[in-house]
Symmetry: C2
Amino acid sequence: MKIETMPEPYPSAICINTINPNVKLMEYAVRGPLVIRAAEIEEELKRGVKKPFDEVIRANTGDCQAMGQAPITYIRQVLSLALQPELLDIVDYPADVKERVLTLLKGCNGGSLGSYTESLGIEVIRRYVQQFIEERDGVPSDYRDIILTTGATQGIKSILQLLNCPVDNKKTGIMVPIPQYPLYSATAVEQGMQLISYFLEEETNWGLNINELKRAIDEAKEICIPRAIVIINPGNPTGQVLTRANMEEIIKFAYEENLLILADEVYQSNVYEDGIEFNSFKKVLVEMGEPYKNMALASFMSCSKGYTGECGLRGGLVEIFNFPADVKAMFYKNLSAQLCPNTVGQAAIFCLVNPPREGEPSYELFMEEKAKVLKSLKERAQLVHEVLNSFEGFSCTIIQGSMYAFPQFKLPPKVIDLANECGMSPDQFYAFELLENTGVCIVPGSGFGQKPGTYHFRTTILPKIDKLKIMLEKITSFHIDFIAKYS
Amino acid sequence: MKIETMPEPYPSAICINTINPNVKLMEYAVRGPLVIRAAEIEEELKRGVKKPFDEVIRANTGDCQAMGQAPITYIRQVLSLALQPELLDIVDYPADVKERVLTLLKGCNGGSLGSYTESLGIEVIRRYVQQFIEERDGVPSDYRDIILTTGATQGIKSILQLLNCPVDNKKTGIMVPIPQYPLYSATAVEQGMQLISYFLEEETNWGLNINELKRAIDEAKEICIPRAIVIINPGNPTGQVLTRANMEEIIKFAYEENLLILADEVYQSNVYEDGIEFNSFKKVLVEMGEPYKNMALASFMSCSKGYTGECGLRGGLVEIFNFPADVKAMFYKNLSAQLCPNTVGQAAIFCLVNPPREGEPSYELFMEEKAKVLKSLKERAQLVHEVLNSFEGFSCTIIQGSMYAFPQFKLPPKVIDLANECGMSPDQFYAFELLENTGVCIVPGSGFGQKPGTYHFRTTILPKIDKLKIMLEKITSFHIDFIAKYS
């Protein structure tokens, strides 16, 4: 039986014109179209499609273990036993590992990683984070101001969201370095906030020039209300480690402009250059004394980087400092609706801040593995810098820290015209050609931002040394051919 | 040396007047002030403060393992070995467990759970999800439309965010049942969306009355643009399982109003009443044929509930259906800035959708454990219903599914006045008194919404049977005293 009046053809309840305009606008180049194409090429290679290369080298994300870095034994021993406590009686793991597992499980509701935790994270872990930060900085910390998160990403997004308070159609402004890690621009756009770009100074090894900060904020005040400044130290994608003098200048600037300092310090253990050391913004700010030590700050850390490289476990933390009590209450309430960060990520942070101590049975192996990872990263940082900087086509600052190089290169006018015709930025055009011709997947500088008329790309230093050499060889010889082709 | 002009006392860069107004407005009762007080009471008990009870019974969240439910052996075996693959050669676990571990690790970048995954989740897991859904529903699924998430919560929040598209100052409206699980109201408020409340019908066991849906949407159209309808089935906090006839009515309503269906189906394995079965919205919609099978839908699932109860691992998934390709591209781009869902949560979903099959060595134990959990939940659902419904002060619908009872009770006018004076809702006042006098922590009905003038609370059925009996006895005798005191 046919119904007489059939319903109209279904106009989809969800369509491109009626979805969130901010979601449409936001971009995240680290996982953008280039990476999607890289995955397609991998599929094509599997299907036997002939290419001028055998494999894709993914130098686009700081994904340590994907590139062959081994997990730290101590961490995986703790995690596996914590998930399956019957193994405590079956497996012959060191006593300190087993002690950590018991401490951890005692902190879990019902003694299980399968239970929800407090929204701010398991208390005993937060207390160890406090101790870790106090040992690192030599200034007091408070576990009640430490929040465990699902990767540093979630912490950063939550803090940015908390700040979003437009007034009279003026957006909330967030100062972000250019080049930046695009999580900041993506989140700002997604939340409808105003990005206030300040340029890092490539000539002074990507330092922050206070005049440039002033220029940026003064211009921005016409259109938005600046509320916070993001500093990424050690730098991503730029690899610099800020000097203490520069940090003090930045703190004074933030003080004068009444800005919340958002210190992205996820690469704090990744410092390679001799004589250079990492200082946390909180340490510097406290040591500067009155009135700076009363400034509000949020600092982010992660188990994804450093020597642990546990990206997939999504463990992170934020320490907030000098937040008023009523603001904290609102922030904690907001976090509670996300229930809790994942327990295994929390447990990874627990291992990171509570490593084997001298004299404990796991200590030696742990120190050996940690040193090996950091030494190898240092060697690779030096190699990448040396090769790229000595090559005629590129200039590349010293990689003092983090996991990336961000070399600058010149492009012939023909490329710029061609790229325009394809609706791409010139460095994106370059990156696609590099990928299609060599299988090397890097991220064009435009994904992080760069001074107009300059071109860069970001590559990780993470491929194993042999593959890294091959990759660098591929990049440099591609560059020669590319310039020849389009000159 | 003193500086002549000292900087002004620091006006905090972050203060209550300049943070996100939506964050200030949002509420999430499941982890609200009552739960904060419960934690304080636990501390007081530890410190030896005398109370009329020895322990807090946390019946406020569906936190299975916190209440003593044992994890499923198969799942924990797979997870522990996947995190520490050397155990494959050390531990005598069943061959199917080891085979699952190898399949899982083969799907991970670099063969490690420590690597980032695709933003949508590990492909091999999504393919198993497809198979699981096809077996459940008997209709096709597509792994490319299945997204793994950090708990169902993240999936729900991401989809709601995607829909947020105000037009000419009219907010985007989301139809949400009252009573509801407050994640929906919290997220809507946080995102600046309009909640369109429709009342469930307690008299028909919390069914959806189409006239009520029409009333709600017609009123809402004056102030917002309705875009989606949330249905929680099995119900939270209400415990009903929708009949197929009711689902068909709802689908027709959504069709007529051009609404995206958001099917919260996280309790799909928690169905207790004989003769009642769970149908997914996608199955019903597809089986209804043209034109309904072309409707857009998103369905959510989790490893936190069912028989697995792995809340802390934060594993979830969303299946989207009939989303236009351009919308999917935007959604996937947006997810990419969150990098990826945590790998251990993904691995838990892998176990859930790829359980031991008949004939495999883990099969018997797995089936035994699964049946034991579900049987015990069924017994507890029946017990809670029986006790609460037979008690003079309460009426309580049959708990057909999920993990909660939502009994109704009457309150004397004196309580209502007193509560007003304290700035509380009357049921919140009741819940605080219950907590302070008995240590039982439930959530007042106002946290989920209820018809004006009616009072409810939500309790989980999760305490172990002996403790559950004590809890029910505490609640009923408290109720008698409370009513006597305030009448």
